[in-house]
Amino acid sequence: MKKRILWRVVLIGVTVILAAVFFLPNTPFFKEMPDWWTKNMPDKGITLGLDLQGGIHLVFEVEGEKAVEITTERIAQSLKDSLSKKKLNAEITSKGLLITVAPSSMEIRKAIEDNYLVLTPVETGTNIVYTISDKEAKRIKDNAADQALETIRNRIDQFGVAEPTIHRQGTNEIVVQLPGIKDPKRAVEIIGKTAQLEFKIVDDASPVAAEIPATVAPGEEEAVLKKFAEKIPADDEILFEKKVNMETGAVRKIPILVKKQAALTGDLLKEAKVNIDSSMSGYPYVSISFNAAGAKLFDEVTAANVKKRLAIVLDNTVYSAPEIKERISGGSAQITGSFSMEEAKDLAIVLRAGALPAPMKMLQNVTVGPSLGTDSIEAGKRAGIIGTLLVVIFMIVYYRLSGVIADFALAFNIILLLGAMASLNATLTMPGIAGIILAIGMAVDSNVLMFERIRDELRAGKTPRVAVDSGYKKAFWTIFDSHVTVLITAAVLFQFGTGPIKGFAVTLSLGVAINLFTALVGTKTVFDIIFSKKEVKRLSI
């Protein structure tokens, strides 16, 4: 065998082995492999798309505009406080994105504009109207989207889906894919919920607080609220804390009387994490830190409320209500108590995940049940096998021995395609399966082109060997051009495609690109091997 042929045979062998190694995780044999294999060799393979394994695909829009509105409202509140501290008499109202300050004296303007750099005046007269600067508004919107992404991540982590995909799309959209989830309705509810984290002062000093029952059973909250609706001070409300008995699993609800007005909101929170108190008790605690504005506010709040409790409220549920032991300056605090590690972790998650000020709106929800996916896979397999058989038989009947060679190239093509998809950890969707099957139908085209050329050359009286060589040469550019045209459409599909369509683009383009290789290297090598053995007088084509 000539050297040239030999290295092509080696190349074919190596690519087939590589393809097999990459594809192995998709076969039952992977489990049978020894430990060193499963640990060191590729273990991902081809992932099934949502349409094949069931699951949900959600697209949310983060309503950044609302985050700016909420921030505006907070700034207005902070303005009120700081002006009254400076003994400046001004009426401040906020509506939507605007804060109106009256009257518009120089003194008030200076006090506001020196301290609140994010505000820009949009209208001056007897009143001044401020709005948040464009730059700041953009920053808030960006943050809102980032935080929403983080929040969703946290929430999804909590219910343990094997391989979730969560990513930002455009400036304000978030795409969530949860394959194989069992209760899609619940997942949608949990993820889509708008969370608002607030810190509220507990009003233990009010005489009503003493009357409230210590705990109630779940389901009795309404009754408690009704009973005390008239009694509680106008600026107070009753919220509930959920307590689970670690040993018995029994759930109790603890009603807590808090101030309606939030002392601090979640967006001021920078970080929350679990630490272990190594020196003393060994109990875990949660340390939190605020941003600059938050630190200032936290300082004020703690100074004014020493010995009172501060409730951590997420979506109107109290998660913890630690006591403020002393004034805390500098913006970092520790929440201690006899937490278990789990409780501390949960609290940190609530704090972090709850720091989302912007509500989300669901734009798209595609849910596929597991049974449809299984049906689709079975149907795809069946169609693939039957389609391939039809093509294989046709080629043998029509081109005889050369048809067998073309079928060899086809098999080579399928193996490489699966291997390539597995090596890229590509996602296989139902349209993707259609792409593979179509690629199989089109794969023989290169060989058909060549064989027809070879037949032409044979008819012109050339020897089989010369006919094959010149047939290949002449067909090359045609094959190249025809493949590129398909690749262009596949590239466009890939660009525009969402989920399933992208899968089609991937399999079709990989199939076509690999076909270029198998047709030009695969079949030609077989012909060369045949010709290298002996003088061939007749070619079965």
């Binding site: 259609a434 099957i437 023989v444 466009v492 525009f496």
Partner: protein
């Protein structure tokens, strides 16, 4: 050696006027379909129209009229029903856009699972598309088709000459439009999967055409004294076996998908089969005649 269509001498170019009449008619049909789609009067899938689609599988047959009655009683309005009787599946679509997603699918599922609890309904899939996403997907699909057309025009124009690029692109557009027209008449649903089938058809049709042009270019070098029309005819005849065989093998694959590939891919396969047949026809009867129509002067290919 089995040979089909050996040494044919069919006068493809001579039949171009008939082909133009036939294709013109089908082309117009396609245009009508496009206008209807744009006006939202065609059968658009929820991914384009926005709205809700729920597919439910029952253990036994349930008649459409029963479902209709149940949903009416459940307070739902303006829904379409479609059944896949072979698998006892029902597809319910509500195209009205809702302010908040989720309302319709819940109502549908609730009403049906209560009424047909004895027939163990299983929810195959639910799709809820907000108006914003529907509009964006429509726009994206249009862009994809335009981008693909431009890309192909540029490539073929570069590899051959502009008029060949134009001939090939018009032929491919023709194929896509005719398939759109046929799908419209058959009342099939237009959705994202169909758009990808249409793009695949454009790619396939172009491949077919490029092979013929390639042969024409090659023949022009040897037979440069003959009129272009003669050379084109000869070239189409020369590659005819390849055109037919490749179309056959691809149709085999598409047919397998159509019959065995399941409901999700059924219409996709149907579009592909029609596209392959029409693409093969346009390669023979439309692409080359259009190049001829564009200018009779001798301007043929360069590069090998």
């Amino acid at each position: 050696m089995i040979e089909i269509l050996k040494n044919t001498k069919i006068d493809f170019m001579g039949k171009r006027n008939y082909a133009f009449i036939l294709s013109g008619t089908l082309f117009l049909l396609g245009m009508v379909a496009i206008v209807q789609i744009a006006l939202g009067r065609a059968n658009l899938g929820v991914d384009f129209s926005g709205g809700t689609a729920v597919q439910i599988k029952f253990a036994q047959h349930v008649s459409l009229s029963e479902i209709r009655k149940t949903l009416d009683e459940g307070g739902l309005k303006d829904f379409d029903l479609q059944d896949l009787p072979a698998e006892n599946k029902i597809l319910i679509r509500v195209k009205k856009e809702e302010a908040k997603l989720g309302g319709f699918s819940e109502k549908i599922i609730e009403a049906l699972s209560k009424r047909f609890s004895d027939k163990t309904p299983v929810i195959d899939s639910t799709t809820e598309i907000g108006p914003k996403v529907g509009a964006r997907l429509r726009k994206d699909a249009l862009w994809a088709i335009l981008m693909a057309t431009a890309g192909l025009l540029i490539y073929v124009g570069w590899r051959f000459r502009l008029r060949f690029g134009i001939g090939a692109t018009i032929a491919a557009l023709h194929d896509v439009l005719v398939v759109v027209g046929l799908l419209y008449i058959m009342g099939r649903e237009f959705n994202l999967i169909i758009v990808s089938a249409l793009l695949a058809i454009a790619g396939y049709s172009l491949t077919d055409t490029v092979v013929v042009f390639d042969r024409t270019r090659e023949n022009m070098k040897v037979r440069h004294k003959e009129p272009l029309e003669t050379v084109m005819n000869a070239s189409i005849n020369e590659v005819l076996p390849r055109t037919v065989i490749t179309s056959l093998t691809t149709i085999f694959a598409a047919l397998a998908l159509f019959i065995f590939g399941g409901e999700v891919i059924h219409d996709f396969a149907l579009a592909m089969i029609m596209g392959i047949i029409i693409g093969t026809y346009s390669t023979m009867f439309i692409a080359s005649p259009i190049v001829l129509l564009w200018g009779r002067k001798k301007t043929f290919a360069r590069r090998p």
